[in-house]
């Protein structure tokens, strides 16, 4: 009778919001690629969704506390994989981040987000009382910093950046004195003049374009400009599904991956975009609810960290699409094309559902 109890206690609103986002993604991918050689790629995304769902079900069925026991081991395996792709991985778009297993290509960096959330939650639950001390900060930095460093070496700055919300959330949840935050800010600012000359030319351009969108309209600025045209031309109500011209004529770069929201914005207008943002916000609210109702601190931390990861990644992606952040390759969770990203995000949501469904002390 355990199985039926699990079904009863499942967080259906969360599952519905997630599936809604994935459906929006599949339609947008279909629309974005219908005009070019990648037409039909949405079917691949459906297959990935099926695979991701299986993984999610497995994760929901097994108690999150079991996953917590395995967290460090899994984290270690992912780190090994990250090290492996660094030497033997397939390079796509200059990033050595792909692991080829038969017909499938996997990005271990996406899985690393999931394991990082888990190990940080375990660490917070086990080791932290009150506020974080320096020793704890360092240990957490090692746990989260190891995958981040390996990913940064690929170099996949976009994915590395998505670790920032996770780490930030962990520090906030763990509790940290304000002086540490101020100190971190000062150190960060001091690092700017050291880091800036080390950046590559295109990276500098992307950052400068955020402050000066008119800069280099055919180069780096082109992407943001085309994104704005696609979004803006959607108006309030949008042009209708498969009616967007900017993405279908390939004016929009990366239209089915990182800029998929611009495609959706063109076809469904402000109303559509507001709905997507609303779904994400709903997910966050469900995550907080799950965190509050969790029967132990571990569950609370898992929900908050996973929620911060997914929402943080969403904020980075939307920031890029709007030109508020430098153009870096960060997919919109659930929506953007890509198997690894979808699997990782669904597995994250599965953890929240898992915690939520086991909120009652048995």
């Amino acid at each position: 009778m355990y199985r039926s109890r699990l079904l009863d206690s499942l967080d259906w609103p969360t599952i519905a919001a997630t599936c809604g986002l994935v459906a929006i993604g599949i339609f947008s991918i279909a629309s974005a690629t219908s005009g070019n050689w990648q037409a039909g790629i949405w079917r691949t995304q459906v297959v990935w969704f099926a695979l991701a769902s299986i993984a999610a079900i497995v994760i929901v069925v097994v108690d999150y506390r079991v996953w917590a026991e395995l967290a460090l081991v899994m984290h270690g395996v992912v780190l090994v994989l990250l090290g492996f792709v660094l030497f033997f991985g397939r390079s796509v778009g200059g990033n050595q981040s792909w692991l080829v297993i038969g017909p499938a290509r996997l990005q271990p960096s996406e899985l690393a987000k999931w394991t990082t959330c888990l190990v940080l939650a375990v660490y917070l639950a086990r080791r932290v009382r009150g506020t974080l001390g320096l020793r704890q900060l360092v240990e957490m930095a090692i746990l989260a910093g190891a995958p981040l460093a390996l990913i940064g070496m690929q170099p996949d700055m976009g994915t590395a950046l998505t670790f920032v919300p996770i780490i930030l959330a962990a520090v906030i949840i763990g509790g940290v004195r304000w002086k540490w935050i101020v100190a971190a800010l000062i150190v960060g600012m001091l690092l700017v003049p050291v880091t800036w000359p080390r950046l590559k030319g295109y990276q500098k351009e992307r950052i400068l374009t955020v402050f000066d969108p008119g800069r280099d309209p055919t180069g780096v600025g082109y992407q943001v400009r085309q994104s704005h045209i696609a979004i803006g031309s959607g108006g309030v109500t949008g042009k209708g599904l498969f009616k967007g011209t900017q993405n279908r004529l390939n004016f929009l770069p990366a239209q089915h991956t990182d800029f998929v929201l611009a495609v959706f914005a063109e076809e469904f207008g402000f109303i559509g975009v507001a709905s997507v943002l609303g779904l994400f916000y709903a997910l966050f609210r469900r995550g907080i609810t799950a965190a509050r109702s969790a029967q132990d601190r571990l569950g609370t931390y898992i929900c908050l960290l996973v929620g911060s990861w997914i929402l943080g990644q969403m904020v980075i992606n939307v920031g890029v699409v709007l030109g508020r952040l430098p153009t870096i390759g960060v997919p919109l969770p659930f929506v953007s094309y890509g198997g690894s990203s979808l699997i990782a995000a669904l597995c994250g949501i599965a953890l929240i559902v898992n915690v939520r469904s086991r909120r009652f002390v048995n």
């Binding site: 108006g235 309030v236 402000f270 943002l277 907080i288 920031g319 508020r324």
Partner: protein, 624 residues
């Protein structure tokens, strides 16, 4: 211990502290989401309409549809210029087929070296891949047949049809009809109707009537993707308005006869209808092939034409001016009789030379003409008679009648580049040379030398005027209404005397070669001095570049003139020997006395090249 019990349950205190921290996360996310919503509203709600326009511009491209240029006919509806389809060979660059073997197979067919094809293909690197590579313009059907026969061996080759201006008789009509080419930057700046890449007339009729020939371009809207590749069907916004046909006054048979008549000589000639001013033939040699400009004109070909010392692009019929020589005696005769300086019966004794203002002037006839009156002086071109007449008249009276007959000003022929020549006067010299007029200057002008200069067009118009007794009429090239004639303010008696003398000049005098059995010609030969060394020396003994230019002007038939002409052969020596035979060949076509000679056929007349004993003038060059 059960895995579930290893984890600490939350206590109240942790719960409260946690709520604060969750609130921090919540606020951070809320701020970001609020910012996003505002930003999306700004883009979609506030500026949505503007971005819609931008999106349309992104997507739709206006492609011009070129109108077909109007056909140009001669007076008998023979095609002088038409637009014909032309086949261009292209190579698709984005397919998967190997390019090199295909290029290698093309080498023997197109007769283009492999290195050149490869070099041109290499130049396309960096251009969008869907842009095709042009292998050859205007391929022949023969070349195409070789490719089509083995189509499977040329998978990347495609053929496209374009419109191309075609002149069936290229060099023959080059200066009259002109040529077309892509519009220049300067023309673009001056016209609102033109856009880059338009084909416009650059000279001749093509230029003069460009507005009606060109037509009006239409355009269509095509959807393009981000690479500019067309997708879907085009939507025609405006059909092109094709150019008008133009029927010229030119007579292709006369035109060809005139062109052939020049042979390898340089010069210009023009035949006009006496009654209407319609141009029947207009030729300048050496000529060029206007078809070359329609082709992908290579830099080398262009340089070859521009740098040719014989200046083939220059229209010698309207834009070159030469001393009119003895042909100017027509003006002198009219001026003398009309101004009352001489009576027709007034005689002058010519003994071959006479001093004027301290300089000895010669008649071309060493022994002299003896007693000459106006008729004989004009018919036999006695210099001494006209020297004295010039002395009597003075330059300003000469200027008055020259001006009346159209010299020193443009004829108004609707072709660009016309020159006005020089009809000197006291005022002219003061202004142009800042010198006073010396009486000696008049003596030179009296026999058509000195400062005088006229174009063939001017002299043809002048002769038409003499023939009809009407004021000079602007030559026209297009069939149409003509302005009503105005009488020349010259007495009929004067004109009769001049006309009779011009008839005699041809029948027995300097223009004998133009005489034909069935019809008679009135005219006057002339010699434009090139250098002072030519004085008194038989032109044919001089090197070509120092020989004088030969004129023959006149009209026919003598009794009831319908056609007037002026022909100049550069360095032709004697007007009678070089220019007159050319005129005769054209008049043969005009009067249709002979079936058309096969193209390239030599006009048969054994003594054409024999020097004439009575040709032109000899005078010592005038000093300024």
């Amino acid at each position: 211990m059960d895995y579930r019990e290893r984890w600490e349950l939350k206590d109240y205190l942790i719960g409260r502290r946690l709520d604060r921290r969750i609130l921090t996360l919540h606020v951070m996310l809320g701020l970001a989401l609020f910012g996003f919503v505002v930003n999306f509203w700004y883009l979609q709600g506030v500026h949505g309409e503007e971005y819609k326009v931008l999106a349309e511009n992104n997507r739709m491209r206006r492609v011009t549809m070129s109108p077909t240029r109007g056909v140009i006919f001669d007076r008998d509806n023979l095609v002088l210029a038409s637009t014909r389809p032309s086949l261009t060979l292209w190579m698709t660059r984005e397919d998967k087929h190997d390019k090199l073997p295909q290029l290698e197979r093309l080498v023997p067919i197109l007769d283009i070296p492999l290195e050149e094809l490869q070099a041109r293909l290499e130049k396309m690197r960096g251009r969008p891949l869907f842009e095709q590579f042009m292998l050859k313009e205007d391929v022949s059907l023969d070349e195409l047949a070789h490719i089509e026969a083995r189509r499977e061996r040329f998978p990347s080759i495609s053929v496209r049809e374009t419109a191309r201006r075609h002149y069936p008789d290229g060099p023959v009509i080059a200066h009259a009809v002109g040529y077309v080419a892509q519009v220049s930057e300067a023309q673009l700046a001056n016209s609102e109707d033109l856009s880059a890449g338009d084909i416009v007339g650059k000279s001749g009729v093509e230029r003069a009537y460009d507005d009606s020939l060109r037509g009006l371009r239409g355009w269509q809207l095509v959807s393009v993707n981000s690479l500019g590749r067309q997708i879907g069907d085009a939507r025609i916004e405006r059909e092109p308005d094709h150019g008008d046909q133009i029927r010229l006054t030119l007579d292709m048979e006369m035109q060809r006869a005139l062109y052939d008549g020049f042979g390898t000589e340089a010069g210009g000639g023009i035949f006009v209808d006496v009654k209407s001013g319609a141009v029947l033939a207009l030729v300048s040699t050496p000529s060029f092939d206007p078809n070359l400009f329609a082709d992908g004109f290579t830099q080398e070909k262009w340089k070859a034409i521009i740098e040719d010392p014989r200046r083939p692009l220059h229209d010698r019929a309207i834009a070159s001016f030469y001393a009119p020589g003895s042909t100017f005696k027509v003006v002198m005769a009219i001026a003398g009789l009309e101004a009352g300086a001489v009576t027709p019966e007034h005689t002058v004794f010519c003994n071959g030379g006479k001093s004027f203002y301290g300089r000895r002037r010669l008649c071309w006839k060493r022994g002299g003409h003896g007693w000459v009156d106006m008729r004989k002086a004009l018919a036999e071109s006695c210099n001494i008679y006209f020297y004295e007449l010039g002395q009597e008249l003075g330059i300003d009276a000469i200027h008055k009648y020259g001006d009346m007959l159209g010299l020193g000003k443009m004829t108004g022929i609707p072709l660009s580049g016309e020159e006005r020549g020089i009809l000197p006067s006291q005022d002219w010299k003061r202004q142009a040379l800042r010198e006073i007029w010396y009486p000696g200057d008049t003596i030179s002008v009296a026999i058509g030398q000195g400062f005088l200069a006229a174009t063939p067009a001017q002299l043809a118009v002048m002769m038409a005027s003499v023939a009809s007794g009407e004021k000079p009429r602007a030559p026209s090239l297009v069939q149409g209404l003509n302005a009503p004639a105005e009488r020349l303010p010259v007495s009929e008696r004067t004109l009769e005397i001049v006309r009779a003398a011009l008839k005699r000049a041809v029948d027995r005098g300097t223009g004998r070669e133009a005489t034909l059995g069935q019809f008679s010609v009135s005219g006057k030969t002339g010699t434009a001095q090139v250098s002072s060394t030519s004085a008194g020396v038989d032109s044919n003994d001089l090197p070509k570049a120092q020989r004088d230019h030969a004129w023959f002007v006149g009209y026919a038939p003598a009794e009831d003139p319908t056609v007037a002409f002026a022909v100049v052969v550069e360095h032709g020596g004697h007007g009678g020997s070089m220019a007159a035979p050319i005129v005769r060949q054209v008049l043969e076509r005009y009067f249709n006395t002979e079936p058309p000679a096969p193209a390239g056929g030599e006009p048969a007349d054994e003594d054409l090249n024999k020097p004439q004993e009575e040709s032109g003038d000899v005078s010592i060059a005038t000093s300024r």
